[in-house]
Assembly symmetry: C2
Homo-oligomer: 394 residues x 2
């Protein structure tokens, strides 16, 4: 019987603190500005992907959360072609000693441990896991920086999920995108105290998909150029410095201001794009109240292309930040988890009840997580020794 060659990895979600918004090249996913993100722990949010190759397979196949996906899209085809070319180069270098996997069809199975629809940057984890799993299957010598260039072509922000900790996506300047890649600013171990609370807003159909939204902003916002040319380059250096110096206050200020400015350029687009709604606004105001009550900046909000709030804070300020959230969102199951059952509700007249009430009725889920590691090898294969998908989850 022909062998099934396989490798399994897990990859993390990342949430940008300096936002990626705007492509200078749509086909290659080249951005108009550099960006920065925090990689979140795979204990809470992860994509698991098994890549396999075999002479038994009769076509390239991709399964996401149990559904067979179309692999004919340009992005998927590009990744398959480029990964095979890298494997082929190794096969040619070591003539005869390597199984010619580059000529075999691929079967790739991928699963998220969180709902795709929750707007939690699942495509970033997904494309990072896909590239990393095939690279492991092919035993490629390329570094994560080099692999990030591939992942970027699947989904821009996926390049940042190739690393743990604190990650920059350097926009690069070359037309072919060969210098537009992710680099690690600092590993998880540098500043492991960073925590994140994700407030998932009750489902609302997404206003504008992010790819078309970005292009609308690039084309129509008269303030956008100022952002990418003048504001972001400065913030990029300031934010890297704040991470290296573990200066939470500066990091928080930049994170909040940059989220606001990204959404401001969305509003300056024509027709305007809105991702923040009244619930998002209430989350912003609650964070402001939390910081006011704490007497210092202990929490920072950020919003991607949707209404969900991500609130960053340090472990030592957990009670100051989560106490008010527990009071506002006491009905949610997250507080019953052992790791957060010790949080005491914290509420006083210093908190504006309007925001508390809006959050109470508008947030359906809270995910408590923190900074984490990059992609990991896993023994948890999603494909059995015969090349079949494990039945249980499908």
């Amino acid at each position: 019987m022909d062998a099934i060659y396989k490798a399994t990895v897990t990859a993390p979600v990342n949430i940008a603190t300096l936002k990626y918004w705007g492509k200078r090249d749509v086909a290659l996913n080249l951005p108009t500005n550099s960006s920065i993100s925090v990689t979140l722990s795979q204990n809470d949010l992860r994509t698991t992907t098994t890549a396999s190759a075999s002479l038994l397979y009769t076509e390239d196949e991709l399964y996401l959360n149990g559904s067979k996906e179309d692999v004919s899209s340009k992005r998927i085809q590009t990744l398959f072609r480029e990964l095979r070319a890298l494997r082929k180069a190794e096969e040619d270098k070591q003539t005869g000693s390597l199984v010619p996997l580059s000529k075999y069809y691929l079967r790739i199975v991928s699963e998220n441990n969180f709902p795709t629809a929750a707007g939690l940057a699942s495509s970033a984890a997904g494309f990072a896991a896909l590239v990393k799993a095939v690279a492991e299957l092919y035993q490629l010598p390329q570094s994560n920086e080099e692999l990030s260039i591939l992942a970027r072509q699947g989904s821009g922000s996926a390049c940042r999920s190739l690393f743990g900790g604190y990650v920059a996506w350097e926009m690069g300047s070359k037309a072919d995108g060969s210098d537009s890649k992710a680099v690690q600013i600092a590993p998880y171990e540098h500043w492991p105290e960073m925590k994140a609370a994700i407030l998932v807003v009750s489902a609302e159909r997404k206003d504008t998909p992010s790819t078309s939204g970005m292009q609308l902003t690039v084309k129509t916002s008269s303030l956008f150029k100022e952002r990418v040319n003048s504001v972001v380059p400065q913030r990029f250096e300031q934010m890297k410095k704040s991470i290296l110096e573990k200066d939470f206050e500066t990091f928080a200020h930049l994170t909040m201001a940059d989220s606001n400015q990204f959404h401001a350029t969305c509003l300056d687009s024509y027709p305007p794009i809105f991702y923040l709604n009244d619930v998002s606004r209430a989350a912003i105001r609650l964070v402001e109240d939390i910081n006011k009550v704490a007497g210092e900046v202990v929490a920072a909000y950020t919003f991607d292309a949707g209404p969900n709030a991500v609130i960053y804070y340090l472990a030592q300020n957990e009670q100051l930040v989560l106490g008010p959230l527990r009071a506002a969102l006491k009905n949610l199951p997250a507080w019953k988890e052992e790791s957060h059952s010790h949080i005491q509700e914290l509420m006083s007249d210093d908190f504006d009840k309007r925001w508390v009430n809006t959050l109470h009725s508008g947030i359906e889920r809270i995910i408590l997580t923190g900074v984490g590691q990059g992609p990991q090898l896993s023994t948890n294969s999603l494909i059995d020794k015969n090349g079949n998908l494990w039945g249980s989850s499908f």
Copy 2:
């Protein structure tokens, strides 16, 4: 018995189509950019002000909507002092032939025919009426342009309410503000077809007062400079041209884009300022649907420092614009007024029901009006021949 000298005027509300946001001099109300507005009809929204002077009076007094107001504020004192100085100059020129009104105390009574709290720019109409009423009482020779410089010092946008039709506030460049004044771009008669529907959002406490909001934006928004230095000067010329050419499509596009950009700079402020809420956003989307269904731009939204939408349209497109509004807001009394009872509800699957439902539950009042004339002399005195306030409304 000593005589009561008096004059009564009415003054209009104006709604900016190119927004005023940001002061380069707070004391003098000098703006960071020029702005443009449409003056609305006094048949629907007006302030009536009677100014009187008499030897019988023992202090300067100001009554607004039946309440005696403090006149010691710097803004009011400046207006009284400057208006008296202009009168004094006339008295000195025509020695002995003019009653020395500049030496008499003033009693000023002012009333709005709409709720002050509705966020309908009542201060603009109020200060315009105050300046114009005293100027009439004093028989001042100053032009409306000259008087607008005074009104501006009461409330910036008040200067634009000295004129009917289409009005520009030229920011000027002098440090003393003597060239920061309103001028008429075109009178009411040039383009009388312009109509406006004001959607009053159910009461919510105002997020940030506009004066402090402006200063926060000037100080903290990194995109604001680009707006005032590069974007607005160009839009100012384009919008004037669109008015002179009665080019509604260009006028509408600029009006919507400029409202969005003003709110974008609010969001780019730190901490961010929000005036638009989910109801405002629904109004924007409904206007977009109205234009899509019409197959051309027949309606333009604009928002001041609050959630209320003002929708401009031309009389010939009344059914296309008001039909969907009537369908969405059928419970409001405005449609029973004779002038709008002929509007037919217009709704189809081309309209997104999400916005329709949000508007239905979030709008408490609709005011149907249009472009109108500038301040008018009135015989409707609010002070009787003995200097007393007319009793009925107090």
